[in-house]
């Protein structure tokens, strides 16, 4: 049997369309790889039969000469935050264990329509709250990467850590992610893959388990910019079932890819040169600027004066929205119910939520409850939403001087699992470079740049104007072509 696991989205769909191999062969190859990689704990459930079923449908359609979808024959991993009809959907929380949706999220439905098959549901931080994939009820995800000379399990990043681990380990050619404050970009950077969070509203949130609704955005994670462009095209599009869905045409991002940066200005935000950032990260940032200059771009310094305040504002806004969104988990309509002997309704709610939510989820729900409570609302929530306006204005002003912004994705490379658990704040700081674009709803992507001396991947982030995913992808492509990132994790699982 041919091993297809090094193939990406484009190679698979083009090969299937040309008849070089069948979709079934590809699905079988990835199913086998998934099964052999249980040590990574990337999947909460696997669905090899779904992958085969979709592959057979593509092969049959091709045999009949039908027009194939843009991702026909590509098996993917689905982050377990997307509701999938008939397949358990948990958000990696005990409170949703055993929940089997009777409907399909818009984004996953669009991917199946484009010809994808599902390898399984990918592990994540519980309710997407976390930056290391250590808050899942179903166990940590281990990155396929290890520091040279050690066997310590490293973090694949979070919250889309199952997605990043699976794609980096070549057990899935691509996977869905969601990004609330960096949950696509940070794990992509930690594992040497690409990931793009589009403009807020591009991808429907319908059927995606809600964390912070004004920030949540789905996006693709894959090993090349090209594959991300193809997959984002399949995921995006107007959906009347999501009130904040953008009613705008979906451009042909793949067809529009162009790494020629002549005439483009790339902004380097001076406030991102923060204390505590690894020297290797700063060096890779300088390299990134050189690569883009080599591609023809002009490099300009820009200022985003409120950068420092973006992260604390995020940790008011996101928990506030989470406390409201997660009120639905009450032990009545779906999911877990904990009914202590003789308990009334109120006691049942409190017991169910205590048993069902993990520590980080409780922490954020309570923080959100506090900042929204009477007497504190203006001091915390209103002030944070004003700062959010200022963060957005910073970007507006910067984009008068440049077309895209280049920054590191993270302040450090991946770290060993269980090394940052003592202090939630240290963990939060890992998203310091990712959160500003989330607050402003802007498209942003991470592309692999280089590896550190001890062999861990580093990513570079590109942030673009609202609706300019093309500009982001193009700059990403220019970096990808020059970075020559070919490092792969050595197989140990």
């Amino acid at each position: 049997m041919t091993d297809f696991t090094n193939f990406g989205v484009r190679e698979i769909r083009d090969g299937v369309a040309a008849g070089d191999f069948s979709a079934r062969e590809v699905a079988e190859s990835f199913n086998t790889a998934v099964e052999a990689a249980s040590e990574l704990n990337a999947f909460i459930v696997t669905t090899p039969e779904k992958a085969l079923e979709a592959a057979d449908a593509v092969d049959a359609a091709r045999a009949k000469g039908e027009v194939l979808g843009s991702m026909a024959g590509v098996p993917i991993g689905m982050k377990d935050l997307f509701a999938t009809d008939g397949v358990q959907t948990t958000a990696a929380s005990h409170i949703l264990e055993g929940f089997i949706p009777r409907y399909e999220s818009t984004v996953s439905a669009k991917l199946w329509e484009a010809g994808c098959g599902m390898l399984g549901k990918l592990n994540l931080d519980q309710f997407a709250m976390g930056s290391s994939n250590e808050t899942s009820y179903f166990g940590n995800v281990a990155s396929p990467w290890r520091k040279e000379g050690t066997n310590a399990a490293m973090s694949p990043g979070g919250s889309s850590g199952g997605s990043s681990a699976a794609v980096a380990a070549r057990i899935a050619p691509a996977a869905t992610g969601t990004d609330t404050g960096g949950s696509i970009r940070q794990p992509a950077a930690f594992t040497g893959i690409c990931g793009i969070k589009p403009t807020y509203g591009r991808c429907s949130r319908w059927g995606v388990v809600a964390f912070a609704s004004s920030l949540d955005q789905a996006g693709p994670m894959a090993r090349s910019v090209e594959d991300c462009a193809i997959m984002l095209g399949a995921m995006a599009g107007f959906d009347p079932k999501d009130s904040t869905s953008l009613d705008a045409p979906v451009p042909d991002w793949f067809g529009g890819l162009d790494a020629d940066m002549r005439g483009k200005r790339v902004g380097i935000p001076k406030e991102y040169r923060m204390e505590g950032t690894d020297q290797a990260i700063l060096d890779s940032w300088d390299k990134g600027a050189e690569w883009l200059r080599d591609a023809g771009a002009e490099i300009v310094e820009v200022s985003l004066p409120h950068t420092k305040y973006a992260l604390p504002a995020y940790y008011i806004v996101a928990p506030a929205e989470a406390s409201s969104n997660l009120a639905r988990y009450d032990g009545v309509r779906y999911g877990l119910r904990d009914l202590p002997e003789g308990a009334g309704l109120q006691d049942m709610y409190a017991a169910t939520r205590a048993a069902g939510f993990g520590d980080e989820v409780k922490r954020r729900v309570m923080l959100g409850t506090y900042v929204l409570s009477a007497g504190f609302y203006d001091a915390y929530y209103t002030q944070a939403m004003k700062v959010r306006t200022l963060v957005q204005r910073d970007f507006d002003a910067a984009f008068e001087q440049c077309d895209v912004i280049l920054a590191p994705t993270t302040p450090t490379p991946s770290f060993p699992l269980n090394s940052l658990n003592d202090d939630p704040l240290t963990m939060y700081l890992n998203d310091v470079f990712a959160v500003p674009a989330s607050l402003a709803g802007l498209p942003a992507m991470s592309v692999p740049a280089t590896v550190t001396e001890d062999g861990l991947p580093l990513g570079l982030q590109i942030v673009g104007r609202a609706m300019d995913e093309q500009g982001v992808l193009n700059a990403g492509l220019a970096i990808e072509q020059r970075a020559g990132f070919t490092a792969k994790p050595e197989k140990w699982w």
């Binding site: 008011i316 009545v332 939403m385 306006t389």
Partner: protein
């Protein structure tokens, strides 16, 4: 500003999360650390700044005033709605007795 153990217990009650004494032991200091850190937002001069209301400017749409305009979000799906309920009885959600 820091919050007391009693205040954290009160927040837990408002959030409908049962908390034992041990939970509070670790949560109270964590909570205060995070609050101290977010309070740096107070340094920002926001006078004359409107709080953000929409991330990407757009008008809220109204759907057509038609019953079951989209069958996925319309009615008539009692079985689907109840399929995941921990307790469903007589076509309703079952809860512990509320009225004595």
């Amino acid at each position: 500003m820091s919050v007391t153990r009693e205040e954290v217990a009160k927040i837990a009650q408002l959030a409908r999360i049962k908390m034992g004494e041990e939970d509070l032991d670790h949560l109270v200091p964590e909570f205060n650390n995070i609050l101290t850190w977010v309070e740096q937002l107070g340094e920002v001069d926001t006078s004359g700044v409107e709080p953000m209301t929409a991330v990407i400017p757009q008008a809220l749409r109204l759907r057509d005033d038609v019953i079951d305009a989209d069958p996925k979000t319309g009615g008539g799906r009692q079985d689907d709605v109840l399929a995941n309920a921990p307790v469903a009885e007589h076509g309703f959600y079952g809860v512990p007795k509320v009225i004595e």
